[in-house]
Symmetry: C2
Subunit: 327 residues, 2 copies
Amino acid sequence: MYKLSIDAMSGDLGSSIVVKACESFMKTHNDVELYVTGKEEELQSLKNISNIHIVHAPDIVGMNDGIMTVRRKKDSSMVKAVTLAKEGQVDGVVSCGSTAAFYTSAMLFLPRITGVEKSCLMAVIPTYNAKGVCMLDVGANAENTAEQLRDFAVMGNVYAQNIRGVSQPKVALLNIGAEDKKGNELHQETYQLLKNEDKINFIGNIEGREILLGEVDVVVTDGFSGNIALKTIEGTASLVMTMVKESLMSSLLGKIGAMFAKKSLSQLKKQFDYKSVGGALMMGFEKPVVKAHGASDEIAFENAMNLAYQMVKLDVVSQMKEGLNIK
Amino acid sequence: MYKLSIDAMSGDLGSSIVVKACESFMKTHNDVELYVTGKEEELQSLKNISNIHIVHAPDIVGMNDGIMTVRRKKDSSMVKAVTLAKEGQVDGVVSCGSTAAFYTSAMLFLPRITGVEKSCLMAVIPTYNAKGVCMLDVGANAENTAEQLRDFAVMGNVYAQNIRGVSQPKVALLNIGAEDKKGNELHQETYQLLKNEDKINFIGNIEGREILLGEVDVVVTDGFSGNIALKTIEGTASLVMTMVKESLMSSLLGKIGAMFAKKSLSQLKKQFDYKSVGGALMMGFEKPVVKAHGASDEIAFENAMNLAYQMVKLDVVSQMKEGLNIK
C-alpha cells in the first residue's frame, strides 16, 4: 500500500473540498492509505471509508500566518501531515495551505536527499501548445549556485520523464540572451555545467519571452529570477484577460461579440488561469511534497493527490537520486 | 537651437519611415536642427528642408550584426550619429537600430555622467490604468550593485517627474516579496539605500505580478531580473492576445463574436503591443540617447524624436546630475 498524508484544513476553502477530494480519490485507488490531518469533527464523513485514517489536529496554519508559525503550531494539520512523513508513516504529503509555510515545514521537518544542497519549488506552467513546461526554482531560494541549478535541472528532468512522460525532455536555462556567454557569472557557469551533464538534453538558454511557447520541457532558473518570471507571467496573463473582457464590454458591438464568444473566452480563461493550475512541487526532499493551490477546488485538490500518488508509485525520488549520482 | 542626430538607416524598415518622421517633425519644431545620418541618395527629399543637415554614412549596422560590428563600422549611420554627439555637434541621438549595437555605440563613444558607475536601459511599459511605468535596468547590465540601483532609481525618478509629469513619482524595487528582508543580499541592501534616499518617494518592494497594475511610476531592478521581467511581459501579453484570437476563431459563435468585437480587440492589441510602444531610453550618458523600436513606423519614430527633444529642452541630464549630487 502507498501511504499519503493529507492536510485537510489549511486551504482558503476549508476542509470540505479536501473531504470531497479524498472521497473521490479513494473510489479509484485501492492501493492507497490516506492519513488525513485536521479537526476530527470536520472529517466525520471520511470515518467509515476503509484505508482512511483520521489524525486529529486541532490547530490551523492560516494563509497569512508568518512562516515561523509552523514552529509553534505542532498540532496544526499542516505540521502533523509533514511529521507523519518525517516519522516514516507515510510516503508523501499533500497540502493546499500557504506555500511559504508548507515549504518551511518541509525544510524544518523533512530530510533533504543527501547530497542535494538546496531544495526548491517547481511549478508546471500552461503553455501555448498545451504541453506545459516545468520551471524550477520559482522562489524557494533567493540565491543559488551553479551546482544547485545543475541539481534542479537533473530533478526537473527526472520529473518530466516520469510524471509528464516526455522521453527526452528539452532542458533550458533562463537567461537574458541565447549565446553561452550571456548573463552573469552564475549563468555562464551553469551553462557550462548543464552542457557537460550527459544525463540531460540541454538545449541552451531561453529568454523570458519564450517560456510560454512550450518548446522546452524544463526551464532551470535561480529562485530569484524564477519567482520574478512566474509572477510576471501570472500578472500579465490575468491582466490581459481582464482587459480583453473590459474592452469588449466597453462598446455595444463588443458586448454583442462577447455574448457570442462567451464560451470560447471562458475556456481560454480556464486554460490560462494559473491559480487553478496550482500545484507546485517541492523538490529535493526524501519524500514527495505536493502543494495544491490555496484556492483549490476539489478537482484541483484531487489532481494534487494524484500527483503525489504517481510520484510515490513510480518512486521518482529514487530516480532523482540516481540522476544525481547519489546512492 | 536644439540639435539632434538621427540615424536614418538601421531600422527594419529602412530609411523611408525615418525620412517621413523627420519631415513631419520639422513642421512642428522650428527650434531644432537635425543631423540625419545615412546614405545621401536615400535622403534626397530632406535636402531642401531648412535646419536639416544630411551627414553621408555609406555603411549600415544590421539588426543581426554582432555588437562589436560598431567598432569596425565607423562609417555607419549609427556610429556617425553617436559620434556627432560625442563631438559636441548635437545634444541628443535617436536610432531605431539594434538595441544591443546602439547601446554598445553609446558605451564606446559617449561619455557617461561623471560619478555614474553604470549606464542602463529604461523601458516605459503600458499599464492597466494607462499611466505606464518606467522600468530600469531592463538588460544593459548582467549584474549590478546596490549603489548602481540607487543611481537608476534617482535617474528614473527625474525622468518620471520631467518627462512624464508625475510630481512625486512612486519608486519601487522589483523583488520576490513585499517585506524589506526579502530577496538576496543585493536587494536587501538596495532596499535600505532607497529607503534612506530622501530625493525619491520609495514605496518598498513590488513583485512581478504588480508591475503592470500601474500603481507605481518607477520600477528599479538589476539588469538581469529586469530583462527577464520585461521579456516575460512581452511574451505573455503577445501570447495571450494570440490565444484570444485563436480561441474566438475556433468556433462559429466565436467568429461571429470576433466580428462584432473586432474594433475593441484591435484597440486593446494596440495598447498592449509592446513593439509599437518601443522606445527605450539609455540612461547615464551625458546626452540623451533614445532608441525607437526596430520595427517602428514613422509615428513611433517621430515619438522617439519628440522624446529626445523633450529630454534636451528640459535639460533632464542636468537634473539627473543634481539628483545624483554630481556637479
